[in-house]
Point group: C2
């Protein structure tokens, strides 16, 4: 499997310098990302492409090739595969579309490719996909320009996605959310390598700490459950299953030829294999962000601290609706807090520091409730940045206090440009920030779900 | 009521030039926003404040005063009110906190103020509030600096909010979302003017086309329902009711002293009075954005057009889950579309233009489905901007085609900096853009809810 992410040598079939040519863009992306493996453009029309020696066919390459990248029209793919079989190249990423998703003729072509692959021991990613993106080896087969899509920083999230557009949008979003990425794999029609093969690989991948899966269908039911179960024991997996209702099932079929199947069966499989399910794009990205940045809480007692009382109320509502407790502080803790704060601060849960709050008040509240007392397992912190008492210093104050507490926190803050700056600073320190009360409560509940899954796995292991 | 938004003359009690003083910031904000009414700082310590003549007390002002703005410590408020009674000033905005929300003593102070107000025919907004913001008269009593909060453009949305932090965050968000604002009113503890008085006023306000209400509780049950019913006949009202569960109810009580009451009763009241309920901050802002920018659809048949197949699948799922139909095109329409597009485009619903789409393909699909045929009532359009075929031109192409169709559309697009630019361009043309499939489907369903309410109001009027 490693070969798909870090090939020693790769042939890019059909590469040209013409603008708009997919194999050309792939090669250009590899060059601009600084991929260190050997690259061999293959095209009978050219002697060099982007300064690299170009070969008329795969068979003309004098060196060993670990992987081919095939992004030429569908009817021409089979022939390339036959050539690579002769040269004993055991890995191919087929980018080309126009197979199963196009009906009978496409299915027929796909079947022929599958047979050739099996007979010649070739592992295939695709077709109808973007292939891979590896943020550590700088290898990618994406044919989208990095001028349009922001490159996320190195990190611990790996993404499996049946949809290419979705995978790329996630990379783009991750960059925006300060979320680090390890690998992205988009397998489209998935005639060979799919979730069941990739999950064991990601389980053992040193860079991956959290796995996100976008699925319309899975490759092999039972094998998938086993693979997911084994992976989720070590690392959280969050899945977005689409094609749930009739309209979505029909759309999935047109999209990747996927038979989205009975949603209830998927739900049961997720439960069985320790997968956390997300129900929309935002819950998905919010959950993996929380899991990538923070540890699961030891329990469900949540402290809410804010200087915007209304937001405290909304977060409290959404906590209740997401299975999180918002218990009031004990009389002793109330007294302690009361002695430190102005009388018009509301010493309860939420702790409402009011519009008069300054940065340090957050430290005081969190120190008393999360470090000096053991009444809460995690905090949802809602610094509203409009009042004058609030400054950038809030970021370090909250980050340091929470790190000392050893308990997780998520941040909710709502507002324009200044608030966005604060968001980035928090996320550089690995505190996930959400732009609405409901999303912060939901993200916290995703963290808690991971704890519950871990506990039930531990129990069943005894 | 008009006096609260456009006073001919206003006394700002306690105004100083000292940084951090609330009355001082209010006066500074009025000056910087270019408010055209007469302003009178009141403070025995100064002769001028920010270049304006300052008076020792209200009674020393030689001219008539329409409104007082009171932002001094709570125990001093009653005396100012007694003075303004002698000068026959019939309106006051009391910004000061420290009343009902602080317990018995605060309630007592509030009651005394209420009695003086009734005896002297003084209408009061507040206490414990930010007061008003009027984007057309440039009058505001907000004590937050506009350096921290972005000023939204002039528009048709008016906001009623019990929470000040929430009201300000909404203004900030509105600026970010390209959403135009008419008025914001935050009444905090609401000892006099509340929803029941403000809704009839907004019903008749020429600038207001959509009303958004954040509520922890309402002022007068029956009167509120009558006021809302009469307003919602003319203009959509969207409400976010907070304090729904036990934790939220407790938080609301600490926040504005509100008795949040039984949530089921609120739900029934919303239904009765034609209010559309939102369940979180995002649903709230997304709904009012859609209603401010687009008309309700005539039915629930939704066309989905995208160049990102996976997103089409997710939107289809969320349409089903929000009561929207995603019917396939008729054979005739399919044939027509098929004849215009490359064979690997998926001519169905969603129409999947694939990663090879260019801008014009969107025009072709929308023209055939929304103008030349009558099979759809509205469109959810999902332009994914990463592929090279997509450019800024998409904005005008979609906006013009949809305007010609006379049918509403919402846009979903996901991505980083380039996508954000496209979002702003769409929103300048009054097409609401959402950053996730679920939010675009939910916003469309809010538009549809408005249609359903209008129809049932028309039926009951017959």
């Amino acid at each position: 499997m490693e070969t798909f992410f870090n090939p020693l040598s790769v042939a890019i079939v059909g590469a040209t310098e013409k603008p708009g040519s997919l194999p050309g863009i792939i090669l250009k992306n590899l060059l601009s990302m600084g991929f260190k493996g050997k690259m061999y453009p293959v095209n009978p029309k050219y002697v060099t492409v982007f300064g690299l020696n170009c070969f008329p066919s795969i068979l003309d390459i004098p060196d060993e090739i670990a992987l081919t990248v095939i992004a030429i029209p569908a009817p021409l793919v089979l022939n390339v595969l036959l050539q690579q079989a002769r040269k004993r190249i055991h890995h191919a990423i087929i980018i080309s579309a126009g197979f199963r998703e196009k009906g009978a003729e496409g299915i027929e072509m796909e079947e022929r490719i599958r047979r050739v692959a099996i007979e010649n021991d070739i592992r295939i990613l695709g077709p109808n996909c973007l292939g891979v993106f590896d943020n550590y080896t700088n290898f990618t087969t994406s044919f989208l320009s990095w001028e349009r899509v922001s490159l996320p920083k190195k990190g611990s999230l790996s993404i499996l996605s049946q949809s290419g557009a979705f995978a790329i949008a996630l990379l783009d979003l991750a960059a925006q959310e300060g979320l680090g990425i390890a690998k992205m794999i988009n397998y489209g029609n998935r005639i060979d390598v799919g979730e069941s093969a990739l999950l064991p690989f990601l389980r053992d991948d040193v860079h991956t700490k959290v796995v996100a899966i976008y699925m319309e269908s899975v490759d092999y039911g039972r094998r998938f459950i086993e693979a997911a179960k084994s992976c989720s024991k070590k690392k959280p997996i969050v899945a977005l299953k689409v094609g749930r209702g009739a309209a979505g099932i029909a759309a999935a079929k047109s999209h990747t030829g996927a038979i989205a199947g009975n949603y209830a069966i998927y739900k049961a499989a997720f439960l069985k294999s320790g997968i956390i399910e997300a129900h929309g794009l935002e819950e998905f990205i919010d959950g993996v962000k929380a899991l990538s940045m923070q540890n699961p809480p030891m329990g469900n007692r949540i402290l809410i601290v804010t200087n915007g009382g209304g937001f405290g109320v909304i977060v409290a509502d959404h906590c209740s609706e997401n299975g999180l407790e918002v218990p009031p502080p004990s009389p002793q803790l109330k007294e302690k807090l009361g002695s430190k704060f102005s009388t018009f601060y509301v010493v309860n849960n939420p702790v409402d520091l009011t519009g008069s709050a300054c940065d340090r008040d957050y430290h005081i509240a969190l120190n008393a409730c999360m470090i000096e007392s053991d009444e809460y397992d995690a905090a949802i912190i809602i610094p509203i940045m409009a009042p004058q008492g609030m400054s950038e210093k809030i970021v370090d104050l909250i980050a340091e206090t929470m790190k000392r507490s050893g308990k997780p926190a998520v941040i909710c803050t709502v507002g324009g440009a200044f608030t966005m700056k604060i968001k980035r600073l928090f996320e550089e320190r690995e505190f996930p920030v959400y732009p609405s009360p409901e999303r912060s409560a939901r993200a916290m509940s995703m963290l808690l779900k991971r704890r519950v899954l871990q506990e039930s796995a531990e129990r069943s292991a005894i």
